[in-house]
Symmetry: C2
Subunit: 345 residues, 2 copies
Amino acid sequence: MSGEMQKIVLASRPVGAPVDENFRLETAPMPTPEEGEVLIKVHYMSLDPYMRGRMDDAKSYAAPVPVGGTMEGSGVGEVVATNSDKFAVGDMALGMFGWASHALAKANELRKLDKTMPVTPALGVLGMPGFTGWYGLNKLGRPKAGETLVVAAATGPVGSMVGQLAKLAGLRVIGIAGGPEKCRIATETFGFDACLDHRAYEDARSLRKDLADLCPDGVDIYFENVGGKVLEAVWPLLNTFARVPVCGMISWYNAGALGGNATSDGLTGPGLWRSILVKQMSVNGYIISNHFDLLPEFLGDVLPKVLSGEVKYLEDVAEGLENAPRAFMEMLGGGNTGKQIVKLI
Amino acid sequence: MSGEMQKIVLASRPVGAPVDENFRLETAPMPTPEEGEVLIKVHYMSLDPYMRGRMDDAKSYAAPVPVGGTMEGSGVGEVVATNSDKFAVGDMALGMFGWASHALAKANELRKLDKTMPVTPALGVLGMPGFTGWYGLNKLGRPKAGETLVVAAATGPVGSMVGQLAKLAGLRVIGIAGGPEKCRIATETFGFDACLDHRAYEDARSLRKDLADLCPDGVDIYFENVGGKVLEAVWPLLNTFARVPVCGMISWYNAGALGGNATSDGLTGPGLWRSILVKQMSVNGYIISNHFDLLPEFLGDVLPKVLSGEVKYLEDVAEGLENAPRAFMEMLGGGNTGKQIVKLI
């Protein structure tokens, strides 16, 4: 393959919310696959909140992206050159291609996709975000019919999966989302019992008041994917034996390694521990990449529900690699409604 | 039965650490068992940290003792009058008899004890504290050979059970206790690999330094039974996938419903949640009274180990009901070495 490829690199580390200057579009010579590799032309790339963490030079569960390095991320694309007998030119594959127009990939690190099906769900409802929601809800949340669940980012790919599966399991589901339009989608499209617009509340206390009205029997599962004001609002409403799967804290991602200036009224030291003890809570952090052994179980459960329409999904599509940074920054601010992807073809 | 009985009532609610004036010794007419009841002459009563919580008028997992009410607690005693065909005079039983020389009890709420065996273990190593350690370690701690466990109050009935069972399971076990004598007992009697005297450290940071030296591979299970300085010291040493069973926080019990002035450097809001997420921790509060369905499994596992001497236990025996408040107050300050009981006969 001759010609050039494009990629977005980390130009500098952000302080707080990322800005344009933290990203740079570069071109590079088109690479050639070595033995066992294929060259991918990326069709769609995924934008996910966890990528914000990779931009920091902090100790975390994965190494940071080096300054000057290509932003990491998964995508779906077409094999355009192959040096592996596992893939033919024209095959579609899912892999970690980064924010780039093309990528070299080891054949044994790719998942081949069915070309007769839409490929973008592999990045969302049937990919890492959907799997994150499914795992956290079922393996850590242990839902029981009649219970009440609260989940934020309700229309996003994780929150909408959690809420829909919980509804199918017979729970009362209250969503929290940013703006009246997302709340409408949470109830009308995704079937949540109710959804509160966190932007309409000045502080955690006022949000808690309305949430308490919507949860007359308290909250049994709080699926933690945002942190901040929502966590503060929900915490005192948790019932005895409450379960709190923790998969993310997007509201704190721009707060400097989750530290410092973020406040957390009622969630400090002894008070928090007292709740965990007295209410016999189960608080479990998890990172989905450590649970890929359960991917077949997830797909076996959820794929039929997606095909039947029982589980719906929404995608927000930005166009063009050069617009990926802007779409990413907007997503961190809650600008997206569904799964944020970038179309590169 | 004629005559009088003695009991210790809650004279007033403590502010901070309990003092003599919070307790009062009273006499009452000897009661007579109604249908289905027995009258117990208490031989030994148990003193446990959870009783401090019952003295507060705070929302908790159990109703507070009313002012003027008899202090609650379990004990072992002899049936001296019976109005039930389940118990004969002379039988020994375990039950919630309170801080009292005698108690009426419903026959179906008692556990009959084998008179040919020592009865005090039913209050400690084979009772609620031992069961608390066993449940938390096995069901929430999920120990694996080669891992490292840290437990405080190492010579107490919970900590010594946790440590000994963990050693039998092939873990490296580091204890923390108050004073050099308890540390000696933790290693020599209970077989811990090492034990640190928390009183020898000015703050969590200095304790953490020595603990880190003793845990070169980090800490996989922190069995939380004290809170405060020990929790602060251990927290940053926890490994990815660490498990934290939470059964008590005795160091905070006198701090006003665990709130207020207790500090917790590094354990506030976002930082703590970041740890839970990034390290994929499992933090589980539990109260053993909700798990009595597993008591047979516990006894089936541990009773043979106690009989064989694989699991050892220590008891601290105070003499006389009138000395129960003093023994209780000393226990909250760490004055006991093993399981604290009061001998009433």
